[in-house]
């Protein structure tokens, strides 16, 4: 089985990182060739693994259906299901028998790394299933494209070798996160991608803004990681293992470590804690503020890390533990609400940006909100949107990189009329925009429709919130992408110099990414007959879940969301067909609304003013003051106190002490006169006297005895 060797997929970029780091400088293309070759091979492997996993899953589904039909034909009676938990989703009263021995594809293999004491071990292992295979495909493909693209985009940068090393390290880390069979490995990969992100955002570290953005990104996500760590630890304490498969089994059976019944309160706590990690990494409200700043990094980095892969790690984490999340409706509700808030408020923020990358960044935040919200109702919807979004958002970012490369500015007010000079970029960017705006039949339409359909089917309070905000969000998305398209490609060129189309190394990745942006949606057509052979079957985590999966096409919803998108498009076209001067941009003339949006809801001000500055500039200084003036002072006072006691007994020592204080080297060294001089007056007679007193006391004691 090829999936036995899936460990090669992360191993290849790791090896290439090492090779580039050691020998990259001496290579003709600064190590890029190694990175591209390695990730290319990894991509091929990922395809092979995906084929194996997906076909296995499809045939498993087919077997179940065959058995199902058989049983219905024979008796028509219901057979008790083993997986009652997953089936609660179904709610249709129709339970399906799963024949013995038929399961969703999971290839898990592990070696014990180290004992931890108390009988616990840390393992290193791989878990290849539908979800992992899908992520392999996405990560390796986008990474391949981005690396090819970078050979053009980063051409001539003095640190290009370092850049490709980091790209390889990042790709390895991301794949490591994906492939891990236990939460410990997920945590490791999670932090590793974080540090790669930090280093790549701060890639041009000469500029203070860039390093500030890097620090902000790392610390904000790290804050979320506290949640992740707490969650992982709680899980470990509850189930006595990090292994994802074992945790899922334990939750299904409703037992904790040691056979105790499941503590649902603690479980909810753990899940919400894990989700806080996801909030940080996937830039969900209220920790989303780092992602737009992260655009300070090179554009290929934004495409790879901050659009397609790393930021989806949070979504991946929830999907990875989906059966566990299903056990806590409270956690799912939190997820839905956070997702809904994020998708809406980030969409609004995208409206007022001038920097094209920031528009895309906020759009990424918004789309991540969709994914997260979707996971509250439907596993497939969430990860399908993750999958499609990865392609078209990478496409958009690389397209924006191509623009920036041509006009040497991030600002749309310096662009305009680029359709003529950059046709390739224009057409691919257009495809990406339409996919993002969910225009049928592009990828984004199918995945977003799945999200909304999931919310509709689930209904209830959270379902309705997600549905309404999601629908509005769709309109906003279409509007801001239209604004971008017109500001960038229509009208007259407003910038300096003569822009021209990017070189082939940058052009072809755009084309290669445009293909899946168009086609990938067909992998998961929302019609009953396609499910057993489509994306839902490929990536299912269990047959029970797949069978109970409520995916149906709601015509009015699809039409409605399309109409909303078109409405957004028409409105954008009406306002921006003739590109207005920057200061006359309609979205910038909404008074208070614009001000609030331009200041990002004042969240950054809040964080800086309430957390960072007080902590760094006040509390830290206060703590150090406390250290110097209270604790150290106390030590000093102990010294002086001892001296005072000595004063009564040994006047001489006292005089030396005060003398020392008077002649001391100032306030800071003042206290050294205390304890120290007393104890080491250097006066022999003082020592001798002390000795005699001691001997005397002992003699008395002995005599008494």
């Amino acid at each position: 089985m090829i999936s036995d060797h899936a460990w090669l997929i992360p191993a290849l970029p790791a090896a290439s990182a090492l090779v580039i780091m050691l020998f990259g400088r001496r290579m003709a293309r600064a190590g890029a060739e190694v990175g591209i070759a390695a990730i290319g091979v990894a991509f091929v492997l990922a395809v092979l693994v995906a084929v194996e996993v997906f076909t296995a899953n499809v045939s498993a589904v087919a077997e179940v259906e065959a058995a199902d039909t058989e049983e219905h034909a024979l008796a028509g009676e219901q057979v008790a299901s083993t997986g009652s938990l997953a089936l609660t989703e179904a709610g249709e009263g129709e339970e399906t028998a799963i024949p013995d021995g038929v399961e969703a594809f999971v290839n898990e293999r592990a070696v014990t790394l180290t004992p931890l004491g108390d009988g616990f071990d840390i393992e290193a292992g791989i878990r290849v299933d539908g979800l992992a295979a899908m992520m392999f495909l996405l990560v390796t493909f986008v990474s391949l494209m981005v690396q090819v693209y970078s050979t053009g985009y980063m051409h001539g940068d003095p640190r290009i070798t370092y850049f490709f090393t980091l790209l390889s390290v990042f790709t390895f880390s991301m794949l490591f996160l994906v492939i891990g069979n236990n939460l410990f490995m997920v945590l490791v990969g999670w932090e590793l991608v974080g540090v790669c992100s930090y280093l790549l955002i701060g890639f041009w570290w000469e500029e203070r803004d860039n390093s500030n953005a890097a620090i902000k990104a790392f610390l904000t996500t790290k804050l979320g990681d506290v949640g992740l760590m707490v969650g992982v630890v709680t899980m470990w304490a509850m189930f006595g293992t990090f292994n994802i498969g074992e945790i899922i089994t334990a939750v299904r059976e409703g037992v904790q470590a040691g056979g105790a019944p499941l503590d649902s309160g603690l479980l909810t706590f753990a899940l919400i804690a894990l989700f806080i990690g996801a909030i940080g990494k996937s830039a969900q409200f209220p920790l989303h503020t780092w992602l737009p700043d992260a655009m300070a990094g090179p554009t290929p980095v934004s495409a790879l890390i901050h659009a397609a892969t790393m930021v989806t790690a949070g979504v991946f984490l929830v999907a990875r533990l989906y059966p566990v999340f299903q056990a806590s409706q409270a956690a799912l509700n939190v997820i839905a609400i956070i997702g809904a808030i994020t998708l809406f408020m980030a969409g609004l923020l995208a409206l007022v940006q001038d920097d094209v990358k920031r528009v895309l960044a906020y759009s990424t935040v918004s789309q991540l909100g969709y994914m997260v919200a979707a996971l509250a109702f439907s596993y497939t919807a969430g990860i399908f949107h993750l999958f499609t979004h990865g392609f078209f958002k990478a496409l958009l970012f690389l397209g924006s990189g191509s623009l920036i490369h041509a006009v040497h500015s991030n600002n749309m007010s310096d662009m305009g009329g680029l359709k003529k000079s950059m046709p390739w970029t224009f057409w691919t960017f257009l495809i990406g925009s339409l996919a993002l705006a969910a225009i049928p039949p592009l990828a984004g339409f199918w995945s977003k429709d799945e999200v909304l359909a999931g919310a509709l089917t689930a209904g209830g309070y959270t379902g309705n919130v997600v549905l309404i905000l999601g629908g509005l969000g769709g309109m906003i998305t279409a509007f801001y992408m239209t604004r971008v398209l017109y500001l960038v490609f229509a009208g007259e060129y407003r910038g300096a110099g003569h822009p021209h189309e990017s070189p082939g190394s940058m052009k072809w990745p755009l084309v290669a990414l445009a293909v899946p942006a168009v086609l990938i949606g067909f992998a998961n057509l929302p019609f009953e007959q396609f499910h057993p052979t489509g994306f839902a079957a490929w990536t299912m985590f269990s047959l029970e879940y797949f069978e109970g999966h409520p995916a149906e096409f709601v015509l009015w919803l699809a039409l409605g969301s399309t109409a909303a998108a078109v409405l957004g498009f028409v409105a954008g076209r009406a306002l921006y067909r003739v590109a207005p001067a920057a200061e006359r941009d309609p979205v910038l003339r909404l008074g208070l609304v614009t001000r609030v949006l331009e200041n990002r809801y004042y969240l950054d001000h809040l964080y800086m003013g309430v957390i960072v500055r007080p902590l760094r500039d006040r509390l830290a200084v206060l703590a150090y003051w406390f250290n110097d003036r209270v604790i150290d002072r106390f030590v000093y006072l102990v010294g002086v106190g001892t001296q005072r006691i000595g004063q009564a007994t040994y006047t001489y020592a006292d005089q030396r002490g005060i003398d020392g204080a008077v002649n001391g080297i100032g306030v800071s060294a003042n206290w050294s006169g205390g304890l120290l001089k007393f104890a080491q007056s250097g006066n022999v007679q003082f020592y001798a006297g002390a000795m005699f007193v001691g001997v005397f006391v002992f003699a008395v004691l002995f005599a008494a005895a």
């Binding site: 002649n663 005397f696 005599a703």
Partner: protein, 201 residues
Amino acid sequence: MTVIDVVMLAVAVLGGASAILVVVSRNVVHAALYLVVALISVAGTFLLLGAEFLAWTQVLVYVGAVIVLILFGLMLTRAPLGPMPQDNDHTRLAAALSVALFGFLAVLIMQAFGDTALPLSVTPTAAIGEILYVHWAFPFMVLGFFLTVALVGAIVLARREEGEGPEPLFDAEMDSERPTPAPTDVSTTPGVTSPSQEIRT
């Protein structure tokens, strides 16, 4: 109360008095001379106890050699020879401690040996010699070695090294090297302001 007891008492009074004079005398040379008397009375005690050899050794070594050495020391260090306070500021404390110690010891001794009579007998010098060179031969040799070492050590210490200047008044380098100047001149120390304590050279 035998005669020997009376003599012992007299020797003790003499020795004790001169010992006290040693430690309270304001003139260093006088102190040294009182020390002679004290040590002679110690030798007398030895005689009374029958340790004849020891007594003469005491007289020879201490009264003869050590005192001369000490007088040389006084001379070489150019100590102020006239009468002046030689005590530091703890006199009372030291006195209290000593008196307490003495009282305690005296009580202890009286309790333990108050009614013990000493079996007096004169030890002939020949017996001492025999025992010393037969039974205590090895420790004796070690002692000899030790004395040699002390002799060499004393010479090395007291020898003026080549290049070392003639007795500087203050070691300036040593103090300036330290960030916190430790006052070496006592006269600058508050509380010890008696002008008579300045060094007269």
